[in-house]
Each structure stands twice: as structure tokens, then as C-alpha cells.
Symmetry: C2
Subunit: 386 residues, 2 copies
């Protein structure tokens, strides 16, 4: 088991009506709140009005219109609001995009230059406004971790800002807020959760047995409840299990004592950056292709372990088990109604080499991934998804 530092100070308020706590908890930091949200679905569902009711004694500023892959321009806009109005707290109401933008804004509020500088050099993050979140999509785990993925539309880069100061102070996770999610977002979110667990599970493991078993517990939970949430959107048990699994899937619990760079996420990030597709959909398309590409004599034991422990595959031969597990994974994404080919999204092979080059350049794919991949490998994985 590798040495590891683990500290997750976020206060999770999980369950029905937890939003009520905000009136007391935000008050510990001040009265001037920047509310960051997306396309307006929170107005249709009543969450927007509920927050105004709970925060009736507060002065609320708004940054609406955060995009699915949050853009630097939004961060700049939010940062200006914070500086102009002495904002005390940034309140993200939405999914990972709103939370990620809020974190970046919270740090940029204390920085005088271009907020993108913080992404390029996180030592420039010296202080941050407290971030609160009200989660309306479960997928990224951003509500319980210090990461923020931001897209720079000028440079076509999609990169992560990660700093301990950016853990949300408090996250309201009310599973009933997921009831009105469109099926496509439920499916893509579930694929994202699963991919986060895979990225940590499919790594060398020098004896961190507990971490692998915890990861398998979370994977089983996603595979059990993803389809239920699709067919019964108001199934509290399904929504609540997915919501909590989503949070712990990316708060480092499943990488404790392990390490290594991620694989499918950087390959997908280029798809999102070039074609602005939904992150979870890109992951669902790429994951089975990546699994098949990296299956070899070094990795087969772990893929077979996954198949046996998560899918209860009974097969003596490791390759047989591994391939069955990969097939089940792919079938699961199909069952969620997710596309399986890039061509279904209108993506052709014209940018594959450029995207592969960017993916390798901006990540640990070729240096620290489970199976090291160069530009040629990544290009081939894109091709395998056509």
C-alpha cells in the first residue's frame, strides 16, 4: 500500500430537505452570496425559489448560464461579480459544471491576473472564498473534492485546477432533486461515476486490498441502481445510492494507497473540448474500447478480478472472465440508452491525431497510466470507437 494523505473536510448534508441548513450555515461566512447556476432548470423545478426562501435574509447575486463544460469566460464573469460586490460565499446550484466554475471563481476572487493563470500554476492559489453547493446532478463528485475542470475556449484546452482550498465547505445532497433529471443526464452521470471508479480501480495495486474491495462495492451499486433510476426517476433508493456513491467515487477513498494517472478521462476530455459533447457519453463510448485495447498479459488478472467480483462471472480462464466483464460493461451502457459509437454523435476521424496528441501532451497517459499509451495508441482507441 502506497503512502497516502487523506483529508476531506467537506460537510455533507445528505437527504430530504437538507437545503434548509443553508440559512444558518452560510451565515457563518457572511451575507453576500454569489449564486452560480446553469440553464434555468432550477427555476422550473422550484429549487431556485426554495433557495431564495431559505436565504431570504441574504443579499444574492447571480451568475446564470454555466455551460455543461464550464468556460473560462464564465469564470471571468463570476470573478468580476465577486470583486465588484465583496461577495462572501459562492453558492453553486447544479452539477459538476456549476461547482467547478464556482471553485475557480472562489480562487480567482483573490487573484489579480487572468484566472487561467491559476490552472497553469496552482501555486498562485493563495486563498479562496468558501464554496457551498446544492447538488442537482450526480456525476462528477465535485461536491466533495477540491478539483475543478475548466475549458479554455481560446486555446481549446480542458484542464483541471486542483487545490486543497477548493473543497466545498458544505454540500447539500438531496436525492429528490434528481427526480426531474432528463434520462440522458441520469445515464451520462452514471457513466461518469462508473468511469471515476474505473480510473482508480484499473491501476497497479501494491497491496491496497481494502481499496479494491470498496471500489467494487461502489461499482455494484452503480450497476444495480443506474437502470432503476432510468425507468423509475422518482425511486428514492436508486437516486440516493447513486448520489452518495457519486460523492465518494471521487473523494480519493478509492485511490487510497494506490496512484497512477487516469486513462479514459484525458482521452475523453479532448472529445468534449473539440466537439462539446456530454462528458459521460464520451466516457461510455470510450471505456469498453480502452478496456479491450489495454487487455494484455499484464492486465488480464485485474480485469478478470473485476469481472468475477463485480459481475459474478464464473470462468476459470482469466481472459474469458475479463472479456465477459468488458462485454457486460458495454451492455450496461447500452441498457442505459447511451450511444456506443462516435459516428452516432457526428464525429469523424478528421481530428483524431490532433486530439490524441493533445490528450497525451496534457496528461500522464504516456508516463504514469495503468497501461502507458502514446499518440498512436490513443488515435487507435478513437478509431475503434468510430
Amino acid at each position: 500500500m502506497n503512502n497516502y494523505e487523506y483529508c476531506v473536510p467537506t460537510d455533507i448534508r445528505f437527504g430530504k430537505d437538507q437545503v434548509e441548513c443553508l440559512s444558518k450555515e452560510i451565515g457563518k461566512y457572511g451575507k453576500r452570496v454569489l449564486m452560480v447556476y446553469g440553464g434555468g432548470s432550477i427555476k422550473r423545478t422550484g429549487i431556485y425559489d426554495k433557495i431564495y426562501e431559505v436565504l431570504k435574509d441574504y443579499e444574492i447575486y447571480e451568475l446564470p448560464g454555466i455551460e455543461p463544460n464550464p468556460k473560462l469566460a464564465s469564470v471571468k464573469e463570476g470573478t468580476k461579480i465577486c470583486k465588484d460586490n465583496n461577495i462572501d460565499v459562492v453558492l453553486a446550484v447544479g452539477g459538476g459544471s456549476c461547482i467547478d466554475a464556482s471553485k475557480h471563481i472562489a480562487a480567482a476572487a483573490y487573484y489579480d491576473g487572468d484566472p487561467w493563470d491559476l490552472v497553469m500554476d496552482k501555486t498562485k492559489v493563495t486563498e479562496a472564498l468558501p464554496v457551498f453547493t446544492v447538488l442537482t446532478i450526480c456525476a462528477t463528485g465535485s461536491e466533495m473534492n477540491p478539483g475543478a475542470v475548466i475549458s479554455n475556449e481560446e486555446t481549446k484546452e480542458k484542464l483541471e485546477l486542483n487545490h486543497p482550498l477548493l473543497y466545498p465547505k458544505l454540500s447539500v445532497c438531496d436525492p429528490t432533486y434528481l427526480y426531474t433529471l432528463p434520462g440522458k443526464q441520469t445515464a451520462a452521470g452514471t457513466a461518469d461515476i462508473i468511469s471515476h471508479i474505473f480510473e482508480q480501480y484499473f491501476q497497479p495495486n501494491d497491496g491496497a486490498y481494502i481499496t479494491d474491495r470498496l471500489s467494487e462495492a461502489a461499482l455494484k451499486t452503480c450497476f444495480k441502481y443506474g437502470p432503476i433510476a432510468m425507468t423509475e426517476p422518482e425511486n428514492y433508493e436508486a437516486r440516493s445510492n447513486l448520489m452518495w456513491t457519486s460523492s465518494i467515487a471521487l473523494n480519493h477513498l478509492f485511490t487510497f494507497g494506490k496512484g497512477g494517472a487516469w486513462s479514459v478521462h484525458p482521452i475523453e476530455h479532448e472529445l468534449s473540448a473539440f466537439y462539446d459533447i456530454t462528458h459521460g457519453i464520451g466516457l461510455a463510448i470510450l471505456t469498453p474500447a480502452w478496456m479491450r485495447y489495454v487487455l494484455n498479459s499484464n492486465t488480464v488478472a485485474r480485469f478478470a478480478m473485476y469481472a468475477r467480483n463485480v459481475w459474478d462471472i464464473v470462468a476459470e480462464d482469466d481472459y474469458e472472465a475479463a472479456n465477459a466483464g468488458i462485454d457486460r460493461t458495454e451492455q450496461f451502457f447500452i441498457k442505459l440508452g447511451l450511444p456506443t459509437r462516435l459516428s452516432e454523435l457526428g464525429i469523424d476521424d478528421s481530428q483524431f491525431e490532433l486530439m490524441a496528441s493533445e490528450a497525451v501532451r496534457t496528461s500522464g497517459l504516456s508516463t504514469r497510466a495503468y497501461v502507458k499509451l502514446d499518440v498512436g495508441d490513443v488515435t487507435q482507441i478513437y478509431r475503434d470507437c468510430l
Copy 2:
């Protein structure tokens, strides 16, 4: 899944040589340190000297001699040292007893009356000195939670002080520090970890699927590595898996979305309070007896689930599976070399009714336990262990 609040701000520094971080981290709070430790084993193992080396720029006061079931008298002594010397940080070096005493001291340092008042009324805890820990026994999980169990030798009470201010700021968890543990302590500690998971697992579960699966992952880890740590004390993989599992076994992860009062712990606490036996040994004796006593048509499905998911028991009949799982649990404790009968410890039935009465009076056994138990039930469980 029940509503739940989850916030564990402790900074875990896990792995070899992590003790080095103390020179920097303690300095954030001050230079005057009260070091709380036990019977002197840290002097034999070199940990004591190591801490003096790491904290060479600090002013260290000492409270040695903390007992296995820490006594109120020790807390009073430590509190006096803190008040007399303006201590900035309480550093526990040891296991749960040292950490629990340190937490109580940390709170009592800000309280003018008898420290026992804080146990009886935790609203009297208003502030606490920062607690740091260096773990040398893994068992109680105290290094990552806000609880402290203290024995009042005058009233023969053993009760818990639990307050959010008492989370350790930082815990050094170096698995190599467990290498020199006597086998008896390794065995008793493992029994304690397992019992913590059981107390949370054997509860009604209204849909917290993920929580049950995570608990089973941790149980499997204990059952795999407990015997290895006994026969190979310097097996890093075994020690590290048990150490991390011990921490997460009692930081509320395994009770997320569930609830209910504990059963075997309050029954055991009276054994420790009356006879000063090792807590983990008492738990190992009582657990199989408690399981058999509460196995009924309401609980059999959960015991069968435990047997199948943790022990891979193949049996169609739920009672058959459940009983096989209980037998395997008992055999496991025997394999660790733990006593299985109270009579082996020289305990007779003379105090059973009084202890049972105290156990019921000071806990939720008769009101909120998995299977509600009255004084007669608890007396019978003690008798079943003779």
C-alpha cells in the same frame, strides 16, 4: 436511506515515515505540546525518541501511564498540565486509550469544573485544544472520529464523550509502528475493528445498499489480514490494510444513511468497567453469543446476507446460511487465539444482573438497538458466554 450528516475533517497521514510531518504541522498551532502515552512501549520501540527528534524545536510536557481503559484521574492530571503550562497541542502517541484521554483533556482544558461534567453534558464542550495522534495500535478508530470513551473509577461508569470539536486535526498512521505489537493486542484490536463494523452492519437498512457493500468490503479485509498479522507481524500489506480499515470502520462511513443504537459494545463496556478486561477480548467473547441470541425471523435475512457476501457461504436456507456465518465468525476469533468464554478470564455470574442493568440503563439497548434487549436478555447473553 436515512438523512445523514457526514463531515470528517481529520488529516490522515498514512504510511512509512509520516511522523516527520509533525514538525511542520503542529507548528501551525503553537510550540507547547502535551504528549500523552501509555505504558512505555513507545520507549522500547524508539517511537518516543523519534518524536523528540522530530519535535526538537518544541517544548514537550508528558502525561505517561494512560491505562487500557483510560481513567478520569488521568484526564484530570492532563487537564491540569494543560492549564498550568498553556499547552497549545495535545499529542496522543498510542492507541485508542491515549487518543480518547487526549480528546477529553483537550476539551477539559477549556472547562473550569470536573471534566466528568463534559461526559454527562456535552453541551458544556465549547472549545478544545487541537489533538494530534501518532497511532501505535489499530483498533478503536479514535484517530479519525470525535469520540472518547472514558472510565469513571468512582462510579464504575464507562461512557463516551462525543463532540465535533474532538476530531483529531491530524493522525499519523504508520503501519510499521504495529510490527512490535504483542499478538494479544493485534488479535484484540482486530476483534474491535470487526465489532465496530458489525454494530453498524447489523441494523435495519432502509435502502442504504452502498453502505452495506462497503461494510462487507471492510469485513473481508479484516478476516483476510487478521490471521496474517498474527503469524507475520512485519507483513506490511496486512498491517496497512488493517490500519486503514480500522480508521474507516468508525468514521461513520459504514453507518451512512442508517442508524440505530449499538448492541455488543454497551454489553462489553460493563465487562471492562467491572473487570478491567481488554475491550476487544470482551467483544470477541460476546459477539457470537449476541448473534445467536438475536437471530430470529426478523433478522435472519441480514445474517444470511452477511454469511453469503462476506464468507461466501453457499446455502439456500437463510437460517442455515446465517448459522454458518456465525460459526465462521466464532472460529475466526478462535483462530486469532482469543478466549471464547468469560470463565477463561476468571469471571463468574455474580455481577451479571448488575452489569446487565447498567448496560441497559446507559445505552440504547432496550430502545433503539437492532434487536431490543432488556436486562433479562443481556443477563442471558452474559450467561451464554460462561
